[in-house]
Point group: C2
Chain length 127, copies 2
Amino acid sequence: MKYSRQRECILNNLQSRRDHPTADMVYESVREIQPNISLGTVYRNLSLLADNGQILKISTGIGPDHFDGFIEPHNHFICKECGIVIDMDFIPNENIVKKASENFEGIIESYELQFFGKCKDCLKNNN
Amino acid sequence: MKYSRQRECILNNLQSRRDHPTADMVYESVREIQPNISLGTVYRNLSLLADNGQILKISTGIGPDHFDGFIEPHNHFICKECGIVIDMDFIPNENIVKKASENFEGIIESYELQFFGKCKDCLKNNN
DNA sequence: ATTATTGCAAAAGTTTTGCATGCCG
DNA sequence: CGGCATGCAAAACTTTTGCAATAAT
């Protein structure tokens, strides 16, 4: 893979923040440094970086995909009301991939654990 | 919620199969019984049924959402190559929701555990 | 009679893609 | 120079929505 200024900038952006931006949010952010970058390029590079394992793609089922530059093992909470993605520090004790692989014909490379419910802010706003 | 012939037919369809069809696949299937049903109605009812907890909505990150009429606790494998969704009988021993809730401000209502990798068929085709 | 639900079609929203141009090695 | 990456814009795809008509209670 050939170096590109744009890709580096996108990766830097994701690694320097701890929220979980959508492609469009990354685009708006990176545009402050590379004003001519296009949304298509952002999508292309987010795909490449996710395929490489340098970032995570998070499909929440609520609106567009989110992305995460923090790739140490962790899980996510997704608010069903506002769609925000929040890091969870809880990690299962069991070796989940190993156990799940036991009766499975195919190769399990990774897993994702997502929690759903209502976030602190939405709970507050409902009262 | 008022009864509707269309909604009943959609739910019946999902409960009588053990694959994980997309909205469009449900539409094609239900159309054999209700030829005049529209895709919009299928989407509307899949949403309603998922909000009710009568079916599951599965967002895989590969193409459109899938739906599942089998709602007993279980998890899913998703093939990164072909996107197929496969039931996994493995279920974690721990009370995951309880443990994850311990240090979390907000309400966790459910969780979803997804495995990613390559399915049997795609492994075969790669050789 | 009242209100939820439908079919249809258009719109919205997200993501991908074709192509000429530019940049990296 | 050769080929991957880009910017732009159009297209593809999935999902939602407005509205008049229909069906359920």
